[in-house]
Symmetry: C2
Subunit: 156 residues, 2 copies
């Protein structure tokens, strides 16, 4: 099916997930997964963090955020990080709240990537050796969201 | 902060959400939002649909799925589309199950895009004229997931 003419120029810009505490989340997405923080936008009751991979050119310029694809937006509602009554966010993979599944990161060498995650003490939901699909792994971000790790170029 | 050397070549490949019935979902993401179905992979109890925008070159080739970014993966667990007891999936934006927020599509002309969504009877969560942020809209996909519509190039 060809793309309707009216949708020419549309792009899949970003995916937004809420995070309890931006500190461990930024540490995870920047240091563990290697994304860059492109923009931090503070509002009165929440702060938005826009992250993405360096694609060269203007890809990491703030002004380029709405010109590119594959951005991850983290929303931090102020106060959840210190609220003892905050129940945490749903990963989307268990009831109640099943719906959203995961985000996925492709890596050039999945064995090396998973060994590094082990060294960094990143929790795994599924190691390469678990389950049926031996070529993919799932790690957990600080809120418990599932992050799929896939060998770049894998043919499904 | 610079990207750790070990994460060179990482990419934000896809976002996965579950859908009750692939028929209206594919209609929505292909015909309303203009994505292309790149790959359909059927397993015994579920089917995966990989969609993305045409970025020229090999971007729509099946073999290129794990080489690019900004893919949307729809997971259909067989049977939900006819199961009268199926409660539907959580959007992630209300309790219980708050966590995931939305995906976002940038469009070259947001006024024209929203007028077209109105003509196509797409339900809105937030019209351009609603709320404080007059330059963004939210529409709902067939499962009730929020899809943000943003003017391409908008500066936040």
């Amino acid at each position: 099916m060809s793309q309707p003419a009216e949708t020419q120029g549309y792009g899949f810009n970003h995916t937004m997930i809420r995070v309890k505490d931006p500190k461990p989340s930024l540490e995870f997405y920047q240091n563990v997964l290697g994304m860059s923080l492109i923009r931090e936008k503070k509002y009165e009751t929440f702060t938005l963090y826009f992250l993405g991979y360096d694609r060269g050119g203007d890809s990491l310029k703030e002004s380029h955020i709405m010109e590119r694809e594959a951005i991850l937006e983290l929303t931090h509602n102020h106060g959840t990080e210190t609220d003892e009554n905050f129940q945490g966010y749903a990963s989307g993979n268990t009831e109640p709240g099943r719906g959203f599944g995961h985000i996925a990161i492709t890596v050039p060498n999945i064995q090396e990537a998973c060994e590094r995650f082990e060294r960094l003490n990143v929790p795994f939901k599924k190691r390469l050796t678990d389950g049926k699909m031996k070529e993919i792994a799932f790690i957990l971000d600080p809120d418990g969201y599932w992050v799929e790790i896939i060998q770049k170029g894998l043919r499904l």
